[in-house]
Symmetry: C2
Subunit: 282 residues, 2 copies
């Protein structure tokens, strides 16, 4: 996909990516078969449609503006935080999808390289509005204060504790290097979107510690979750009974902790990968 997509196509890909991600059965997270007590499946459905307008217009707005508008539009429909991580990941990707010139990842690099302090200001406002606990505090920049650095510099300060922030610094290394290839490979083997999204989720989780789990429950817990993801992948090929049982067991273990052990960052990365893959099919 080397050509610019229209705002309508970008909106559609963003909405479809959010829907396919949340519908997919991802151990420990909300899916078509599982709600959390405080966040229900339908909250995610409404959030998915809510972000279409802002992300569709990303080519004509700053990344920070896009993030803030998407979170504001979500908040008009849903009163819990459902999609801050997804919006932070999709905003630069959506802006890149609206640009001409070269492979999508190269365009994303250009978007990230030109982020401003104004982008940081709007993104901080969005984070405050979404009332997200974990993302709020970074070493030297607190989202309650006015930023003095660009959005990329602010993300760099949080990069060691948040994979989403790290994506801003590495030009989306996990998304393009791991999540998208896993998704493409699964699609290439004939899996439908939900099953392919699960493959991508397990592969990312196996290789990259989920920073949402790490922030909430500590690094050891997060590493143990990744170890279990590796065991699930080793249990059998997708579609086999062995794999199915391993996925179900993993899901039960994570859910036994209430919603405390939900690899939410990994789910966000899968949404970003779905967006990239859907854009490439347009």
């Amino acid at each position: 996909m080397n050509r610019a997509l229209s705002p309508a196509d970008i909106a559609l890909c963003a909405q479809a990516a959010c829907l396919l991600e949340v519908a997919a059965v991802k151990p420990g997270n909300v899916s078509r078969y599982h709600d959390f007590d405080d966040t229900r499946f339908e909250d995610f459905l409404l959030s998915a449609v809510a972000v279409g307008a802002a992300l569709g217009a990303a080519g004509a707005a700053g990344v920070g503006e896009t993030i803030l508008l998407a979170v504001q539009d979500t908040r008009r429909l849903v009163d819990v935080n459902t999609n801050l991580g997804i919006v932070l990941l999709l905003a630069p990707l959506a802006r890149a999808a609206a640009m001409e010139g070269g492979p999508l990842r190269r365009r994303v690099s250009r978007v990230l390289a030109t982020l401003t302090i104004a982008d940081a200001r709007d993104a901080y406002a969005a984070i405050r509005l979404a009332r997200a606990g974990g993302l709020g505090k970074v070493e030297a920049q607190d989202v309650r204060e006015e930023p003095t650095v660009t959005l990329r510099e602010a993300m760099a300060l949080a990069a060691d504790r948040d994979t989403i922030a790290r994506e801003y610094v590495t030009d989306y290394d996990v998304t393009f290097g791991l999540a998208v290839p896993a998704l493409r490979q699964a699609r290439g083997r004939g899996l439908g979107w939900p099953a392919a999204a699960l493959e991508s989720y397990l592969r990312v989780l196996a290789e990259v510690v989920d920073t949402f789990v790490a922030r909430k429950r500590g690094g050891n817990a997060a590493r143990a979750v990744s170890e279990r993801a590796r065991e699930v992948l080793a249990a059998g090929e997708p579609g086999t009974p062995e794999r199915g049982r391993a996925v179900a067991a993993f899901d039960s273990e994570l859910r036994a902790h209430g919603n405390r052990l939900n690899p939410g960052t990994t789910a966000d990365l899968v949404a970003a990968a779905l967006f990239v893959a859907l854009c490439e099919e347009r």
Copy 2:
């Protein structure tokens, strides 16, 4: 809701209505918990986002054009018929939502009164594209041929065998007279969207024979389904264990026939009611 909505708001309400309808647990139909063999839940998710552009633009296009564009956009993402009935119902409603002047139903009446032969031509093309079995043949007008009557006149010819067609003739009598009030009443009692959609579904099914079931399995089968819906409503208030058991039993009975006893027209009417209710909340 007496003011015109923006294209973006209309698109959002249409997409959200389709998503909430398909996610809701509706005995006999696809829901978040049930697929059909040939039509999966994710097909409906993608279809829901696909119709946003066409329905959002309904204020600036003919009803037939809107129907055809929505079906074309759906077909780009999904290769089975998921939403022809919904699109036929939503197109006049979306056009009315974009107009100024009076309650929504009065505006719908104006839209329906001004339908043309060109609207019929585009709608027939959409029906052919969606490859829908049941809707195809009416007494004097066949969708394989070029229409010689307006879309409303064509719908009048099918009104006795299709509730969707009848809505075009009665200014949406079932939607505004039954489905929307049931939805509003349920919401007023504090039910979430999925539970409220189920109430609306059961109330419509109890009072109006599902013409999709009737076309596929005959009038007696369809009347028996409505009788069962009345029994489910009588079994207990929403949220009680008695009601829950009755809904589950009804669902099992309908599914025991494969997907042959799915009240698809009733589900479409609920989507229309959700659209009206969501528009009124904007």
